[in-house]
Symmetry: C2
Subunit: 147 residues, 2 copies
DNA sequence: CCCCCATTCTTGACTAATTCAAGATAACTG
DNA sequence: CAGTTATCTTGAATTAGTCAAGAATGGGGG
């Protein structure tokens, strides 16, 4: 098993206790791209039917704080989580259906952009969200020219 | 009165009916930088004590849709509104106290950044949020060297 | 290997922000 | 000035998430 998916090891490495809910939550976030809390709860309950929603909320918070998952919250969306952490990638969000896709950051290091005037703020991250229409919604909005 | 602050004219120009709640909401957003809905309700009620919260929510939505105000929703914050529209400026948000400041976009036109791989999305905006600590919170976290 | 205790989980109530819906009111058109 | 339709009022509902108290359990120390 690659170190990337040895979930018990990931938890221990982050100083977190290894519990069933956390393992399942971690697996769910690895399996479901940009999943929201509800779908994590659903995925976890497929294997452990009796976990409380609170346990999932707690796990997601512990994992986010530990840096094992990343929480994203595009405007108008509920909280979403992803397993791709440590790099400085960004997201495209479809204004119509809410679909999210990853966008690599060209720069790489954080913050990947510098503010023109930082107002004295100590900036550690530049979060970029691209807004637009996903391929499907764009096609529906402006039908392909029929030629 | 400059066209910038002739609120009835702004509303008419956007095809919106001129109503007391809308005028007051517009004035509040112009007066209060990055204000949330609650402070808009408070400001409006100082002049018109009986406006319903729903009227304010409706007005804010109408004004946002018409492009007269801009709605911003940094993760972890309630919806906030600002009167600076039309340009493509960004925001710095303090992780500690939530304070928001404007950051000019160096590029100007939208989207101000292009995605390295757009996954077929039709992108119309690149929203940048800088995260860090405001001067006050930074000073509190890492005290000024005493000499 | 077992005990202990801090951490985590369960249960269930609660909150905040926002939306929904139905009827009353008021802004613009002609 | 009257009609039409958008907007506002009122009041309830929803959603996503947090809070809190007590039960359970992971993992270090004996």
């Amino acid at each position: 098993m690659s170190p990337e998916t040895d979930f018990p090891q990931l938890l221990r490495g982050a100083g977190l206790r290894v519990t069933r809910p956390r393992l399942e939550v971690l697996a769910a976030v690895y399996a479901l791209p940009h999943c929201d809390t509800d779908s994590v709860i659903g995925a976890v309950r497929r294997n452990v039917p009796d976990v409380s929603h609170q346990a999932v909320y707690d796990s997601l918070r512990a994992l986010s704080t530990a840096g094992l998952v990343r929480k994203i919250q595009p405007a108008g969306s509920v909280a979403r989580y992803e397993a791709r952490v440590g790099d400085n990638h960004h997201h495209v969000v479809c204004r119509s259906c809410g679909q999210i896709a990853d966008v690599d950051c060209a720069v790489g290091e954080r913050p990947c952009l510098h503010a023109s005037d930082d107002h004295g703020f100590v900036i550690d991250e530049a979060e970029v969200t691209y807004w637009g229409l996903c391929p499907d919604c764009a096609a529906a909005a402006v039908p392909e020219p029929t030629h």
